[in-house]
Structure formats: C-alpha cells, structure tokens
C-alpha cells in the first residue's frame, strides 16, 4: 500500500502531573488516513475524539500534551516539529473546521478578509487576488451573493452561512487534509444536509481527505467511507462504515447502534447502554468498557484487549468478539 496521508501511531495524550501518575486521556491510538479518504471518528462525550483531532492540528488545550507516539503527515513527523515549521503546514496542507462557527470566526473582521488571510500568507497572493479567491470560494460553498456577503461581519450571518464561511476558509489554500470537529452539530437538520453536501462536493473536487469527528452515527454513515469508534481514549473498533454498521464486532459499537433511533426502523426498541463512561483519572485494569458490558468475563478485567482483525479491513478490540457475535458470523 502507498504511504498514507496521515499516519497516527501509538498516540498518547494526557495531562502530565508533577507527582504521581499522569492522567491519560487518549491511550495508544493508531490509525491511518489515505489520500482523499473520508474517515469518521465516532464516540460519546469524553471519549477523546476531539483531542485526537486537536493534537493533529497542534491545538491542544493548555496543560494537555502529547505524551508519546507519533503523527506522520506525508511521512513527516508532526510531534515535536518546531512551531514555525508546523504552522506552515496549517492552511496549505492541513485545515480545520470547528463545531461552533460563531466562536471560531473573528467577530471584528469582515468574513471576506478572514478567508483571504490564508491565501495571502501561504499562497503569496496579492490583496486583490486573495479577495477574488475568497469570493470564489464563498460562491463554491453555495453562499448567495458572495461579493456582498464578503463584506459582512460574522454576527450578520446565520449559523449555516457561518459554517459555509468556515468551510470556504479551510479550503481556500487547497489543503490535502481537512479536520472537521462536529461541523454540523450546531445546525438545523435541513441546513446540516446542505452543509454536508457542500463539504462532500468540495472535497471530491479538490481531492482533500477528511477526518470527521462526530457523535452522530447517521452523519458518519452518510459522509464517511471508513470509521473508528472511540471509547475512553481507545479505538475499540475500526473498519469500513458499511461493515461496522451492518456487522459490529465490539459490544460498545453494537450498544451505540442499538441505542440510536434509526429513522428507517421506527418499530425497533431503543436499547440503552447501562452504566456510565469511566473516570479517566482513575483507570482500572482491563477493557475500559468491561464494567458496562453484558458479555464481560473475568479475562476482560485483567488486560486491555488487543486489537484483532475480525474480518478483512475490520478490527475490533474485544477478546470475546467471536463468542458474542457468533450468531451474526454464521
């Protein structure tokens, strides 16, 4: 296989404590994203999905650090890369779209100027050319009357338009990897539909790969080709979206799918997952999901289960996978 665009290996993110043990938030995470791939990262609040994305963009909150592991972008190591050099990657190579466009945009600068800033800095365009590009990008994201809207301030625009501005901004320098942190969670369902469409179309046109973090399984199903399911800082299942959805091999993934209302199966009962996510500051030995898992056996609480290939291109971190999903396997 060719070199992946992004290769995350044994990435561990946490809070370093001067005394005692560190708090590990994301533990030994590995995944690859190929050129042009659409990769979804799914999990509930606190599973570490957003922090993983932020680590790639070097936007970890203060105090939270990459403790070990590596992030290779096109073969170049991002962990420990000098800030100046890394910054040059952000924009022309890697760009990010945030959940809440109101707080991610600068409220006192016109949106056109905000979009044009990247192309001026990284592509060396003149002020005029950059603004033309900005307006062109706005038109591509489906903003009506882009030339006029470019002179608007963020507060003058609706949520959907702001998110389109974010997309235009992120794609203005032609990045190869687009990081999306719940880009449509704050939007209404009809607007979400429009924004996802625009995002897909533009990624298809430019060939950019997508790393898409969300908690909405249905959105992943419609947007991504591959996914990783995270629980308590681990990837517990990964594979092609349609394989994982039709044949989940980890009890947590199955629990998530069973608890989410499916529009196409209105009569199916929703089965909640009992219990609560673990406290990351007091991790116990063994599988993090074991206390909530209906299938847990003694061996589950001894060691963290290894990630096993359960089918071609489909991995799950569950030692009991074969037993639990025997019925499905047949």
């Amino acid at each position: 296989m060719e070199t992946p665009l992004l290769s995350v290996k044994s990435l561990t993110i946490g809070i370093r404590r001067p005394k005692g043990s560190d708090t590990i938030i994301v533990d030994d995470l590995s995944f690859d994203i190929q050129q042009g791939e659409r990769f979804g990262i799914v999990g509930e609040s606190g599973s570490g999905k957003s922090l993983t994305l932020r680590a790639i963009a070097d936007l970890l909150p203060k105090g939270v650090k990459v403790l070990s592991g590596s992030i290779l972008y096109n073969g170049a190591e991002l962990v420990g890369m000098p800030t100046a050099q890394r910054r040059k990657l952000m924009g022309p190579e890697i760009a990010m779209i945030f959940q809440e466009p109101m707080t991610a945009l600068n409220p006192v600068i016109r949106v056109g100027d905000q979009i044009a800033e990247g192309p001026r800095r990284y592509l060396g365009l003149s002020k005029k050319a950059a603004m033309e590009l900005a307006i062109e990008m706005m038109a591509k994201t489906g903003i009506p009357d882009p030339a006029r809207r470019a002179r608007a301030y963020p507060h003058e625009l609706s949520g959907g338009l702001r998110q389109r501005i974010m997309i235009a901004m992120a794609l203005s320098c032609g990045p190869k990897l687009l990081l999306c942190d719940e880009p449509t969670t704050a939007l209404d369902v009809t607007v979400q539909h429009q924004v996802l469409k625009v995002l897909e179309e533009l990624c298809d046109d430019s060939g950019a790969a997508l790393a898409f973090v969300t908690h909405d399984l249905a959105v992943v199903n419609q947007t991504c080709s591959d996914l990783a399911v995270m629980y308590a800082g681990h990837i517990i299942e990964a594979g092609r979206v349609k394989d994982v959805f039709s044949d989940p091999r980890h009890p947590y993934t199955k629990g998530l799918l069973d608890s989410a209302p499916d529009f196409d199966q209105p009569d199916r009962d929703l089965v909640p997952i009992p219990g609560f996510p673990p406290n990351l500051a007091a991790r116990t030995a063994g599988c993090a999901f074991a206390p909530r898992c209906a299938f847990a056996v003694d061996a589950c609480t001894v060691a963290i289960p290894p990630t096993l290939e359960v089918a071609p291109g489909h991995k799950a971190a569950c030692i009991e996978s074969e037993r639990i999903f025997e019925g499905i396997l047949a």
Partner: protein, 345 residues
C-alpha cells in the same frame, strides 16, 4: 376526537417588539422591521395521555409556544383552554401546578446550591402535595420513579451526569403531580446511549401515569420513536399535524417532506437525496407574503405567493397548511430538486 383535549390553543400569537428609540419610531414608516412575530396564529391541541411532538427549525417558535403553554410567557392574543376551560392569564398556584416543564439543558436548569432533597421538599411543601411527615417518603418515591436511588436526596446537581440530571429535572416536574408535561428538547444535550434511557423514561411515564406530554424536538428520528402525533412548525405557525406514522409515510406539506429527506440515515441503502431544500428560514421580522414557505418551496406557484394557506384537514386526523397538499404526491416525480446557492430572496 370526541374527548375534550387536555390542552387547546387557538390562534395564539406572540409578538416581541424591539426597543427602538422614539426618533426611530417616528421616522420609520412601517414598524415591520421592529416587531418579531414569534408565533403567528398557532392552533394546536394536546389529547389526554398522548405524546405530541412539536418539530421545526430554530427560530420557528417551538420554545416560545412551550413557554406560553407553561405560563412563563403571555401570548399577545389568542385562547388557551385547559380541559375545555379558559386558562386564566395570570395562573394561580393550582393552575400553574397542572402544567410542568422539563428544560433542554440539565446543566443550567438545576440550582447548583440546593440539594436534590431540599429542592423536592420545597415543591412538595409549597404545593401541599403530601403532609409534612411524608415528604421524605414522597421524595424517594419520585426519585425511584425516574430511576434514581434514595441516596440522591443528599446530593447536589454537580454530582450527577447529564442523563441523571435530566432525570432529576423530570422528578422535579413530576413532584407537583401535573397532568401535562412540556419537554423542551430534553434529550438534545445528551449522548446517544443516555438519550435512549431518557426516551424510555418518557414512554414509561406516559404509560404508567397517563401523562399528556408535549415533546419539543428537532431530531425527527427521536420523534418517530416516541410520539403518537407530530406537529410541524415553520416560522411561527403549525404547517402540518398528523399521527406519527401517517406523517412520515405520507407528508402533505413540502416542508415536512424536506425535513424528512434531510434526516441522516443509518443504513447505507437508505440515502434519500431527492428533495433538497434551499436556503434557511427567513427572518421572523419579515415574514414572506402568501405562504410563509413559498421562497424555499420547489412547488410554489403564483397562488402560493399571494394566499396565506390555513391549516385544513386533508385526511382523517391529518391537517396541512398547503394549497397544493392534494397534488403533492404527483408533483414529486415531475419537479427536479433545485441546486444550492440560488436562494430566492
């Protein structure tokens, strides 16, 4: 429906006025831009023991309607009947007890400085629900009802997770023995696995206590699972009401159809992309003439731009406010979806 609905609103309007200076008021010719029509003639009834879902985009007036029903906002005009009797504009203690509310965000709707026990006690004593000696037992009963244990009484909201807080908020609403529960997006702040437990709780409460529940939501997949009837709201008006199954199988308003087609699906085979809705809802400061949906509607005809359609019965138990409701089925195949980017203003 022969039985009297437990709650009925007729032609409710709510208009908010912006604070404009005297000078601006004198110089401006029309006051269209300074008044916001949050609700513009809402007719709705909640039947006994049912879960009625109210769906719509942000700004459609769902929450304003919920506030009016619960009495925390007063309508500008219109009628509000409770069990067939007009509800007084200023509710007394007993009247306000009957309709209770559960809010969207369980992190901000509970007072962080009051323990769960004293929160429930305050309500039970104030409304004389049980004699003082039984307050503790009643509090425990309420907690058990929502799936919490006795030890929650001494705890403070910060000690609970989001899902547990929402249970506490529901227990608080139930403490005064209401017969109507208004739930304003009660699960949208919760994770999926927790969301399912709260939805289950609502279904149990409806079944066991015979509560009538108005469930405000924007997630249609949730609505489809929980409710018996659905009312769709657009820009301050109800545009379609029907029984859940009927509404999803046979939507008779283009907006409902657009909402249904926008739902992200869980299985790969079911990707519905036929119907694509342009733009975003217009501002409630400036509601379009004619049908309020016409600028975004792919089926809009000239008549739609001039007539403001009323909610009319199109099938048994099914009302829609669209003048072309009866032809919608045939139109679907002939009109192509419009592309994004050319919003009709």
């Amino acid at each position: 429906m022969t039985e009297t609905p437990v709650l009925r609103v007729a032609d409710i309007t709510k208009t908010y006025h912006l604070n404009t200076s005297v000078l601006a008021r004198i110089t401006r010719k029309d006051d269209k831009q300074s008044s916001l029509h949050a609700l513009d003639g809402v007719d709705l009834q909640l039947n006994k023991g049912e879960i009625l879902a109210l769906v719509g985009e942000s700004g459609s007036g769902k929450s304003t309607l919920a506030k009016i029903l619960v009495g925390s906002a007063t309508p500008t005009s219109g009628e509000l009947d409770y069990h067939g009797e007009p509800m007084p504009l200023h509710r007394n203690k007993d009247a306000s007890r009957r309709i209770q509310m559960v809010f969207q965000d369980p992190y901000s709707s509970l007072n962080p400085r009051i323990s769960i026990g004293s929160m429930l006690k305050e309500l039970l004593v104030l409304h004389n629900i049980v004699p003082k000696s039984e307050v503790r037992a009643e509090s425990i009963r309420l907690l058990n009802l929502v799936g919490l244990e006795e030890d929650a009484l001494q705890a403070y909201p910060s000690q609970f997770s989001g899902g547990q807080r929402q249970r506490i908020a529901i227990a608080r609403a139930l403490a005064v023995r209401p017969d109507i529960l208004i739930a304003d997006e009660p699960v949208s702040a919760l994770d999926v696995s927790v969301q399912a437990t709260i939805l289950e709780l609502f279904a149990t409460l409806q079944r066991d206590l015979g509560l009538s529940i108005l469930f405000v939501a924007h997630n249609l997949a949730v609505v489809q699972h929980l409710s018996q009837r659905v009312a769709v709201m657009y820009l301050g008006r109800i545009v379609e009401v029907a029984e859940t199954e009927e509404l999803f199988r046979n939507p008779r308003h283009p907006y409902t159809r657009a909402l249904i087609d926008s739902i992200p699906r869980m299985s790969a085979e079911s990707v519905n992309e036929e119907f694509f809705l342009d733009g975003e809802p217009p501002s409630p400061f400036n509601i379009p003439a004619g049908c309020r949906f016409n600028p975004r509607c792919p089926y809009a005809s000239d008549a739609c731009r001039t007539t403001d359609p009323a909610l009319e019965t199109v099938a048994p138990q099914h009302e829609s406010a669209c003048i072309r409701a009866s032809e919608l089925d045939t139109l679907a195949l002939t009109i192509k979806p419009r592309r994004t980017g050319n919003t009709a203003a």
